[in-house]
């Protein structure tokens, strides 16, 4: 194994630094590197640093799992609930998603279930206008469940293809607010069979390990089916989604790459793995 020069401690330390600085986290990084050591041990002699990095990318892809598309119901309106902690990009993502479905020719209703935050309803109305989607809203301070109810009724009456519910940002540690969210989900379950078909947790790519606690709590409360990872146009890598996929089984479905109507992409695991090492 004379050509082992590239596979020494220093190289592994460099890889560890890259992963940790990408917010992959201590445990997931250790798992990835252990897996890599196992592969390196069995690797052909003379394989260099590039081989290892490619192995590592494969490990990352394995952790991320296969691509999972957004769920769509074969008949009636598909209901998508958008949830997450404060400021992650939920309202903006609802607007972008509405626009995407409109471009595909679908009829879209947006539900302004954030009845709490200052000017949240106005913000969503502007996005609805931009996307060409109807916005169902009540007054500020109203009951979020009632808005969800009306949005579902409107979807049935107007034969909408999609209902996208924007909810208020809430820290996962606020038990009463998580109860409120569960209630919104129950309203939707009652009104449309199979709903909500998708519960998207919006995570900010700049967040660190706390995103795992967020994902766990939101999953337990309202059964998150996918993640929209926003603000990937910044310098943060969003590595925390590896641990979330591995420990909680939640796949990333969408990524936000800007503040404009079109800045939404399907999650591409290969591109993501490449970007971790860029």
């Amino acid at each position: 194994l004379g050509r082992k020069v590239a596979l020494d401690d220093e190289f592994f330390e460099e890889l560890e630094a890259i992963l940790l600085q990408a917010d992959v986290g201590v445990k997931a990084t250790a798992r990835l590197l252990r897996g890599l050591e196992a592969r390196a041990a069995g690797a052909r002699p003379g394989g260099g640093a590039n081989d290892l990095i490619n192995h590592l990318k494969e490990e990352v892809l394995e952790m991320l799992g296969p691509r999972e598309p957004l769920r769509k119901t074969p008949s009636g309106a598909t209901v998508i609930m958008v949830v997450g902690v404060n400021g992650t990009g939920k309202t903006t993502t609802v607007g972008k998603l509405g626009y995407r479905f409109r471009r595909e020719g679908s009829k879209v209703i947006l539900g302004a279930s954030d009845t709490f935050r200052a000017a949240a309803i106005e913000q969503l109305e502007i996005w609805g206008e931009r996307a060409g989607a109807d916005v169902i809203r009540h007054e500020e301070g109203g009951d979020p469940g009632a808005v969800a109810y009306d949005a579902c009724q409107a979807a049935k009456a107007r034969r909408a293809d999609y209902v996208i519910l924007d909810t208020a940002g809430r820290l996962h540690t606020r038990v009463n607010l998580m109860e409120e969210l569960k209630k919104v989900r129950r309203v939707v379950e009652r009104e449309i069979p199979g709903a909500p078909h998708e519960v998207l947790l919006v995570l900010d790519a700049t967040s660190g390990q706390n995103a795992i606690a967020q994902a766990r709590t939101f999953k337990d409360a309202v059964e998150v089916t996918g993640i929209a990872l926003t603000k990937l146009d910044g310098t943060a890598k969003g590595g925390v989604v590896l641990a979330i996929r591995e420990e909680l089984g939640i796949p990333v479905k969408l990524v936000g790459i800007g503040e404009g109507l079109e800045d939404l992409r399907d999650f591409d695991p290969v591109e993501f793995a490449e970007a971790l090492f860029a």
Binding site: N86, Q123, D204, G208, N210, K231, T235, E259
Partner: protein, 292 residues
């Protein structure tokens, strides 16, 4: 938690007899893991551990009957010192109005913090004016107006799409004209790597001459905190930091990263969505929170 893990580590190590430097390194590995899990930046952790190592290899640990506790004490005191002093005050200008600019990434809590700060200063006897310089985000102006109404502070606003720098200048001029002593400027969230928008902030600073340029940082920010704080400080020059959403359970390592890379004081912390939820920064509490 870390204390328990360190005590366990030392219990095991002491079993072999006298402590060595290698034993201390093993203990410091536990500290390193705790800091990384708390989202302190990788390089900041490395520098911090190197700094602590020297003290940790000294007599206070080696000769102690409870070396684990000693290491915790050292780490805690070094971390508290790095967190800075308790400077939870606004730097007022000798020539009013005092201008405060709030800057930072998208969604960090600037608009809400602007209203909170106005509320705080009003209660301290000041006469603040809020300026809605985020002319970009949908309904941002409206958001600040609603919050301004809530705290009983006037908001200077024009229209979405107007030039942000001009609105800021107008706001300051208005404050001077009606005798307000503090102007709080809410700016649009932006990426530190967006040159055009960072230039806009630099121009705004040049025009309104603020005594405070405060970076608003989300407490759950991870490794990227070092890039964001570093770049905002380089491009603009910051006078301080406000850490938001500390009412959650994020350990808040971003605080140490931001301090380490800018040297600026963390002046206030946001601890909720209500306008009263702004508190002075406590370095010792932050240190123990980060250590877990």
């Amino acid at each position: 938690n870390l204390t328990a893990r360190l005590q366990e580590t030392f219990r095991r190590l002491r079993g072999k007899g006298k402590l060595s430097e290698r034993d201390v390194d093993e203990a410091l590995r536990e500290v390193r893991i705790a800091l990384l899990e708390a989202d302190v930046n990788f390089k900041v952790v490395r520098d911090f551990i190197a700094r602590v190592r020297e003290r940790a290899c000294g007599q206070e640990v080696m000769a102690s009957l409870t070396p684990g506790q000693q290491v915790i004490k050292i780490v805690n005191s070094e971390l508290t010192e790095l967190m800075g002093g308790r400077e939870s005050k606004i730097q007022y200008s000798p020539k009013p109005p005092t201008v405060i600019m709030l800057v930072g990434l998208q969604g960090s809590g600037k608009t809400t913090t602007a209203a909170k700060l106005a509320n705080l200063l009003k209660r301290q006897g000041k006469h603040p004016l809020l300026v809605a310089s985020d002319t970009r985000r949908p309904a941002a102006i409206r958001q600040l107006q609603v919050l301004g109404e809530k705290v009983g502070v006037d908001v200077v606003a024009t229209r979405e799409g107007d030039d942000a720098v001009r609105v800021a200048k107008q706001g300051v001029a208005r404050a001077a004209a009606i005798g307000r002593d503090v102007v709080i400027i809410d700016t649009a969230g932006r990426l530190h790597i967006d040159d055009e928008l960072m230039d806009e902030l630099a121009r705004m600073k040049g025009e309104v001459n603020p005594s405070e340029v405060l970076l608003v940082v989300d407490a759950m920010t991870g490794q990227d905190a070092v890039n964001v704080a570093g770049t905002f400080n380089e491009r603009l020059g910051l006078s301080g930091i406000i850490l938001t959403k500390l009412d959650g359970d994020a350990r808040g390592g971003a605080a140490l990263s931001a301090r380490a890379v800018t040297g600026r004081p963390i002046k206030f912390v946001g601890v909720g969505e209500k306008v009263e939820s702004l508190e002075p920064f406590h370095p010792d509490r932050m240190a123990s929170r980060i250590l877990g």
